[in-house]
Symmetry: C2
Subunit: 158 residues, 2 copies
């Protein structure tokens, strides 16, 4: 899948190059697609959590690997293209929780995105080994990078 190769592209470069791709999408569509990506990642993060953190579901290495592959593939998909300048709360109201501050701090946003991509790819790499303890650590790292961006750029409510 060359996931690691993809992660070496800087997040800033992704944000710039993939915005070209997003040009035909309306702000509403950009928001819908990015929320879909995060929602589907959330389902898959939940499956990993249940199996490697909570233990509420028996550990199944193949299921965890499939879930980690989803998180990595979505992370590598160039979601920067879904963050057009008109897609924050100041323009889109309750359709999104994205703070307008995001667009005043694109360098920081790029760094947070890069950290998330790296952690997601590391999780997929560990998941491929089937080592539950290492997967647990890598899962925690991904969660930390999610939270870092939420704390900075996601509003508490719509």
């Amino acid at each position: 899948m060359n996931a690691l190769m993809m992660s070496t592209l800087s997040a800033a470069a992704l944000l710039v190059s993939l915005n070209l791709q997003a040009a035909p999408l309306s702000a509403e569509d950009q928001i819908e697609y990015r929320q879909a990506g995060y929602s589907f990642m959330s389902w898959n993060m939940g499956k990993i959590k249940a199996q490697v953190v909570d233990g509420s579901v028996p550990f199944d290495a193949k299921q965890v690997q499939a879930a980690a592959n989803v998180v990595a593939a979505i992370a590598n998909s160039g979601m920067g293209a879904l963050y057009g300048p008109d897609t924050a709360q100041d323009k889109m109201g309750d359709k999104t929780r994205l703070k307008p501050e995001f667009f005043k701090n694109l360098e920081q946003a790029g760094t947070l995105a890069k950290n998330f991509n790296a952690a997601a790819n590391a999780l997929a790499t560990e998941a491929a080994t089937g080592d539950k303890e290492k997967i647990k650590v890598a899962f925690g790292e991904v969660g930390g990078t999610c939270k870092a961006c939420h704390d900075q750029f996601r509003s508490k409510s719509k």
Copy 2:
């Protein structure tokens, strides 16, 4: 990613084994997550189409590969777990377009799912080579497997 290995599991087995995983999810959540998965695949299928079929966006092998990896990873994620018996239109009304007939034809649904998985993994394999013409053919195959299931089990409207 072992995507091809995953695809060798029969779709029927996936439907059965992964329903265990879905137990804690409400019907509403199952619908939300599966719609998120299809929506995010749709964005990525659209990117591939624009680059290899329409030519409306310049072909970028890395972007196409990343998009194909998303489609394959989502296809391999065990979405059968999101098709609990209470999640069709007869129970959920306008929240879904899934026809109740789906649950009377699980074997056929499993075959359609298996065909989709195989086509999605083939697309990811071709995308990794960067051969635009072969990617175009594989993309068409995926689209055909999407349509086959829509024709059979997706209502025209909510």
